[in-house]
Chain length 193, copies 4
């Protein structure tokens, strides 16, 4: 098992799409415990940064990256080409509809839900194999509380959650300044095997 490649943020092509930062990608992928032959679904894939690192870890597996914004969809393909991640399949569409017909997955990552989180969690549960991992990254109170509320009630999952606050220390002249990134909540749910 490999767990996060630590590609610097600046190496991804990103346009105006918000991107999961390096430290959060590393922790998300570690908590997802991605295996080399895993099938991974990334919902709300944005620039594809997380999908691509997942694909490089699941080298004999596949990553299905779902994104509803055409700009993001294009960036996923650009970045997959740049990092030679041929096993990333970009899908233009919104969950839960875009989940229909997808194969069973070892790992499902949810980075965006477009206001349909309960439905997406329901579909994700159906797609997730026994022993699989469902990882939600949240930047809003609502995503955090809805995910905990729903997943803590499902007895077939063990759930752990944390908030990660990264402060970058930047050199400015002779000084090292503290620059906060926004906090991210990671909810990691393991389905019993």
């Amino acid at each position: 098992m490999k767990h996060g490649l630590g590609i610097p943020d600046s190496e991804f092509v990103r346009g105006d799409i918000p991107m999961t930062k390096q430290e959060i990608r590393i922790l998300t992928l570690a908590k997802a415990k991605i295996g080399s032959a895993d099938t991974v679904i990334d919902i709300g894939a944005g620039t594809g940064s997380l999908s691509i690192e997942a694909a490089l870890l699941a080298e004999q597996g596949r990553v299905i990256a779902i994104e509803r914004e055409p700009e993001g969809f294009d960036l996923i393909k650009v970045n997959a080409t740049k990092f030679k991640a041929a096993n990333v399949e970009a899908v233009l569409g919104a969950a839960p509809e875009a989940l229909e017909g997808l194969p069973a997955a070892d790992v499902i990552m949810i980075g965006g839900s477009g206001g349909k989180l309960p439905e997406i969690l329901r579909c994700a549960d159906k797609l997730l194999k026994p022993g699989g991992r469902l990882i939600v990254t949240a930047v809003t109170v609502e995503t955090l509380s809805t995910t905990l509320n729903i997943m803590r009630q499902r007895s077939e999952y063990s759930v752990e959650a944390c908030c990660i606050q990264v402060t970058r220390i930047q050199q400015v002249g002779a000084s090292n300044m503290f620059k906060a990134l926004n906090p991210i909540y990671i909810i990691a749910c393991s389905k019993k095997g």
Copy 2:
């Protein structure tokens, strides 16, 4: 004793000058324990937001606001007028030179030091009355470590320090998003009476 008026950030005129945020002003002024007749010196006063709240607390006292940027110097006067803080005296200049000839102070606040922190701390010590409070707010590793290193060695001071990290929760559509402000370190030094 009064301790911080909680004026919203948006009420200050600020131009492009960085401003101490409301929560940090409240805590800085509380730790400064400003009395109603106190003489206060604010070094690196920026927009004057801290000076003005200090002046409203030290209603029979005076606040000397030192700022080396002409834009900041002008903003201090604009904001003092706006908030009717007639007891704020703006001084255009850089510490430690600008400290020469100033009266003994009950409270000295240092929000910027232009690379001359050890000299400024030395001058501040001379100006600070017994029983007075010296408060340094730091946004760099260097200001934090230099202040602690110097002040922990002065046996006539008791020193306490903390880091304050504020995350604003902003309504975006139906969601509440977490938006981090940069962390601020507050070093509060009380001179023995």
Copy 3:
């Protein structure tokens, strides 16, 4: 208006009851904008640390401190005596029942809700005067999300919320160590006048 006295944590008698820390008390009281003649209700008052500082600010007003644990109820009285806050009235009981018959309030602070937050918010709304402030401090996801969910829908309130994370810097030998306190969410709701 005065806003938080900055009494050190160690001066309160506290037993085994969890206590709101100094920096959080200062910010909570500042956001509560307590006036000198205000009537304040503190729900889930714990050791009474917040009630007592509120009472010292509302010097011609009164503070009703509600606490359901007998140990806390006793500590409130001990601390009120210690700090000569004769205008604190300790009430042994649980909200919302304990709110019955209370006078209209300028400020209501909720630090604990015993699982009955929606009912308490409903009662608090009835007790709060126009122009009054309702301040909730939250240490759980549920209190944060329930408060935001309910209060954002009430058009007669303006709501602002933040998370405060304090890290104390402690001297250990020749080093200054970072020691985190738990994050606290403060939701400040102002009722239109």
Copy 4:
């Protein structure tokens, strides 16, 4: 390259020795970019949690774990046996003395320095191969500022630093409580190849 195995904290045998927490281990190892044949030196190895995860990543390499406390030295061996990390060599001793005679390293991690950080950084520089990574994890202002001060001046290194603050979200009854871990500063220094 593999980057952090995400072993839960509770699986390590730890006694009373402080242990680097899971999220910090994951990020430290990712920033160390440990290769499968790397030689790694872990200074101030504590319970060995970081050494053992490094050893499982450097499966054809070796990890030298230096610890000056006998209790820690014993725990390293216990944990190495438990996790079948035969390529961990525990050394009882204090740096910089204990570094003498060690082989050139691809990765040097410093988690404790016993007040001799400048000397240790000097020795570490001599042991580190071109293209190698030096990672310091700091829990004090002094370690943070000394490391930045020394390493920013060495033009053959590129230095990046961040602070990681993890808040665990724990289920307590029907609630999810926020429990802060202490912040950790990670300074990652890459030596030019």
